[in-house]
Symmetry: D2
Subunit: 397 residues, 4 copies
């Protein structure tokens, strides 16, 4: 028994199959549409193709039509899916549905699974996760949660405003985080609710125009106003929302990293292919020292991101809390992916900022990841707090 | 007599007037159109307003209706104009017209000045500068110039393909760089030609979609095919094109820096205003150490960029070749401006990548400047070559 | 009247004379002693040579035997002096004497000038400045000042412990900062005292071993215990110590920057000479792209440091408070100088970390400058506070 | 079967025992001697203690008195040993002996093992590895090898000059790399020889003074002049020296990384302890955002280094060539360790550059690692070449 970094052969085979599927089926669609999926019909078509290729829903348990991959295995497969901006939606592992499937498998009641999880895992419907609020509500600081759910006869009434609710346009239902104890500024208690998009108290508002544009269903403002739900809309237990959020957030941060790592590799491949063929100043671009430095730094950033992601996955798979490992992987990978794409643009010169390759698109798509899912600064704060806390604990022994 | 960093009071007053004009007149238009000027009519309207405000054409000589500013004075005024993406076009100092005015004043014949410079300086027409070519032509490496001009009876025939020809859509004429001696890969001789857009041998092709979108008239592909021009279309002397390019490029690189420095300040102001008002984790965002570090680094980058630009301007104004000073200023400022805007985005969190502020737009606009006008790597190569050469010369003494 | 970056010809001539003196006289001594002045006799000898070369005490007013340079002129001359670790002591402009001369000229009474300033400016004696205290006393945070001066009959009694008191070993007198109002943690009032080294209440303790070793007279612990001084030992006015500290600190930070900028240039020259002669992988090292990137980045860092220093000097010379400009220059230069020396080491490979060149020594000497005279973090905090304050003031208008 | 990052319990126990031994036995010696082992007697004493603690020679095979750890297991144990500058020498896993043991186990004949390996693994003697040469000989570029071995009657004659031969002062024997085919500048063939220190043709010259001082036995110049050895002095086969060098260098680079990673953790622990206790500006230092950023970045750098080292170890253990993985781990770790120590110094303020803690010492010790064992630039070049080569190979399929 010793450290082993080889993936299970079945997982490696699925990753390889995914890589082939992405190159052969997904990238042509992506390149034809500047990385932005054009329609619901195109989503269905890609997902049908993924099903046919045997790569659909790798994260869902077999019971719900998936491959039941643990986090380590997802690291291998999701990176391959992420090699195209449209790979994740093709495999039904794009945010926020992927994270919602993950959480519903762990927390939902049997009834809720049948009603919400099954069609979601199958790609029949899409969903959203309504947690982030416009200032001064919950953003980096979850304790600022302002949306409330109050007890009413036979259920709950939800009131509040959310934004950056990814995928809300066209979603069949939302998982909504609302305060059930305390006031904004203290931790109190939060509860998650399953709200159907048909609920008259839920209004999907404007698309927030953002630098990134490839997440299907957009980033939206969503308003809950006298939104009534029954008791069986409560996901898990009342006041346990922050705990469930952790169930979702740690893995969801890592799967984001995996997908974006795929884009980093793609950007590097585009730049290396260019540098290998381009003549400049009487040399091949790939033979010039400053270009080589960028190529090498990209390899280093990719390797380090992958290694940190895998470490955090392993911790989660063995049941460790892994808060620090996830924060380290997320912070490093978000910044590394950004650097990789930026260097790939620079290596490609004028072509790199033109629409002739997708590098400018990638740059736009990855930038927000240093903010979404916790800004780097919040994660650094959290890592430092835990480090100092660990030191204190060791002192006390 | 000693070092003096105070601008002439007239210049300071013009800069102040420009700042006010930009805030009061230009920014409302910019914010209403996501930083992209919507139409030729809007250009005319803004330029009329600039004329009325007494800030139009600060770079052109009084003979051509301008303020006749030297490079140092431009540094003060252009930075204020650049505080909005649309400030430069309003003052008629946007690329490429500004650089063309600068060069035509120095090189054109009296006839050429009357025919091309006068209406250009007045904002009656726009122009373009057709130098950059698609690979394997002239890009970072000017010696790769592939467009040719060959002697024909009574004039010249130009053949070749250009791209990233900024402002070509709607330009009344192009200044075209073509090889008149030698073959691609050697220096040989190049010549500049004035070509009317109505010339049947010149075809303005597709708009190259680029990450940046705010330069009016776009970045275009332009083809010259059996393009006939008379002898008086030669700008300056035959085979002196590379030398004239330096006349244009040094100042043009610096004026680019000035304008983008304005955007950096704008981004910082947006972020500081946000940080000063935003509460998070029980503190004002502007009181959190990691936010303060970003705010301070922005101030440092802005101050250093401004100081390096001014130094290079002073060298040019006193007639020094200033190649190294320009390369240093361009390399530093292009990267510093990028860092400043990136930090401003990060400071602003989700809002920073949303369309609710122009920061995402700024990020897109400034990225290519690390590539346009010579990639950072080419400038570093040039700085290093000169440094080593200087060392050798000192050794030889 | 316009921006002018040319130094006065007299200043330029003095700078040139200094450069020659340093190369011909100082560097041979420096290289023979690994950058550390071996003895008081060696100091006297170097200073005699500087006097003979007409470059001694450039900062002192002519009345005290100097050249009376303002801050801008010092920027030119001190950088040349700093080209060797021993240049500043040779010219009598090393810390802390240089800053003490600066402050005594501005604050001391005529009697104090005759007794302390005159011999100090002449190089007959050395001095020290006892402000910094071991934790939890005054360090980055001046309000933590714990040393007290209490009124006693006919004078004052000083008690407290200082450390990092540079030059204390062999100093004829100390300028001591002591609290005369309030308690540690509030601002209160501080007063500066002139204390003779012969005072029995002042004990110069151990040399603190530090990474840097070239500041003559070392960094020491100094204890004041029932240290009695007369009223005429008060420098300036009682309770005005923090204000006077600013008189000293702003300029002293900049002169530190100037001197270290000299070392950065020296390191670059050593590395460039090596790279220009060294063959590796079939090329000249100076022709390899990654080496060129380091050479160019050094030039950029040197140019930007110089430009920021000059800007802050100009602000001080025209009587502006210049707190932000000094903090920007100090923070940038301290980090840039460090990067330059580090790159010079890297360029030089194994030779760079060997004692065969002084680069390893330089690395050790410059590292503490990111901490001494205010750590970079404190300056960033201060820059950010002022930036946000400026924003608030603009809002209020 | 899946990815598993848990070390074998026996290995984990040995690592834990090593950690305890280092804290209880080694660090007191280290702190008393500023990190530099004072004498051969002190070495023997530490190694006896390590033997008694059951942590001696973890890398050697049981046959030679060790624990027979593979590379992955070494990663766990060596990091703990490296927590003190003197931990490695105490465990007999310091450079260059550790790498020599590794290589001799794989290449030496039985006779050579008995004569050289056995006493070396037991700590009875020390050794050195004479490969690096002063310019223009073999440094970053191994093909520049200038030392020659020529066939003579009954053996070989070695001539040439080496430098930076670590541990040569007091070594019982040297492993010498000499050219047996070709001339400097081509690859040709090199051969390794075992040369006794008593050989009259081998002269150990001056200690090269270096920034680092903790490697026992120093960095020396060694001259071979008419140095005669028998045929059985050939290590492995003639002309296979470059291949054997790889056998040594890959693992040796990684074990260097492991040891320095220990120092990085130590530096972080010193800084965190300080920050947790230090009050400044009315806060605990560890609660200030800029300090937290440094603490977090240290954690990230440490975690990423560890993950990359482990990956490369795993590749070596499964017999992969692992050139890229080793270069990635070495480049990242060498730079990350440097950053960590530098931030630890900065966090500690004046104390950080004083001799009161070992941080300044650590800074000096780790700096050369970015140059030793292949400068970062050479590794980046190598990574880029392989990346482009891999791309070409994929294209060709």
């Amino acid at each position: 028994m010793a450290v082993d970094l080889a993936h299970d052969p079945d997982v490696a085979a699925l990753a390889e199959r995914t890589a082939r599927f992405v190159r052969e089926v997904v990238i042509p669609v992506e390149e034809a549409h500047d990385g932005v999926l054009p329609s619901e019909a195109a989503r269905v078509e890609l997902q049908d193709a993924a099903r046919a290729a045997g790569v659909f829903a790798p994260h869902a348990s077999p019971e719900f039509g998936g491959h039941g991959l643990d986090m380590r295995a997802r690291a291998a497969v999701f990176e391959e899916a992420g090699y195209s901006l449209l790979g994740p939606i093709a495999l039904n592992i794009a945010a926020p549905d992927e994270g919602n499937v993950h959480m519903l498998e762990r927390i939902a009641s049997e009834q809720q699974k049948a009603r919400y999880l099954a069609p979601l895992a199958a790609g029949d419907v899409r969903s959203c996760f309504a947690m982030t609020e416009p200032a001064p509500g919950a953003g980096s600081d979850p304790d600022a949660l302002a949306t409330t759910a109050t007890r009413v006869d036979g259920g709950w009434r939800i009131d509040g405003r959310k934004w950056f609710t990814t995928g809300a346009d066209g979603a069949a239902f939302a998982i909504v985080m609302a305060r059930t104890t305390g006031v904004p500024g203290d931790r109190g208690g939060a509860t998650m609710f399953l709200v159907d998009a048909t609920n008259p108290g839920m209004t999907v508002g404007r698309h927030i125009p953002t630098l990134d544009e490839s997440l299907f269903g957009g980033h939206l403002e969503v308003e809950f106003s006298d939104c009534r739900v029954d008791d069986d809309a409560v996901l898990g237990e009342v006041d346990q929302g922050y705990r469930y959020a952790q169930v979702r957030l740690g893995p969801a941060r890592l799967t984001h990293c995996m997908r974006w790592l795929g884009i980093a590799r793609r950007a590097q491949d585009i730049a290396v292919a260019w540098a290998a063929g381009r003549q400049v100043f009487g040399s091949r671009l790939a033979d010039l020292g400053m270009a080589q430095a960028m190529i090498a730094d990209n390899e280093i950033d990719i390797a380090a991101s992958r290694a940190l992601i895998l470490r955090a996955c392993w911790e989660l798979d063995r049941g460790a809390p892994a808060g620090t490992e996830v924060s380290i992987a997320k912070t490093f990978a978000a910044e590394a992916v950004w650097r990789v794409v930026d260097r790939a643009v620079q290596l490609s010169g004028g072509r790199g900022v033109s629409g002739d390759v997708l590098l400018g698109r990638f740059l736009r798509e990855v930038r927000p990841f240093r903010i979404y899912d916790g800004p780097s600064e919040t994660h650094r704060w959290s890592i430092a707090k835990r480090t100092v806390g660990r030191h204190r604990a060791e002192q006390a022994r």
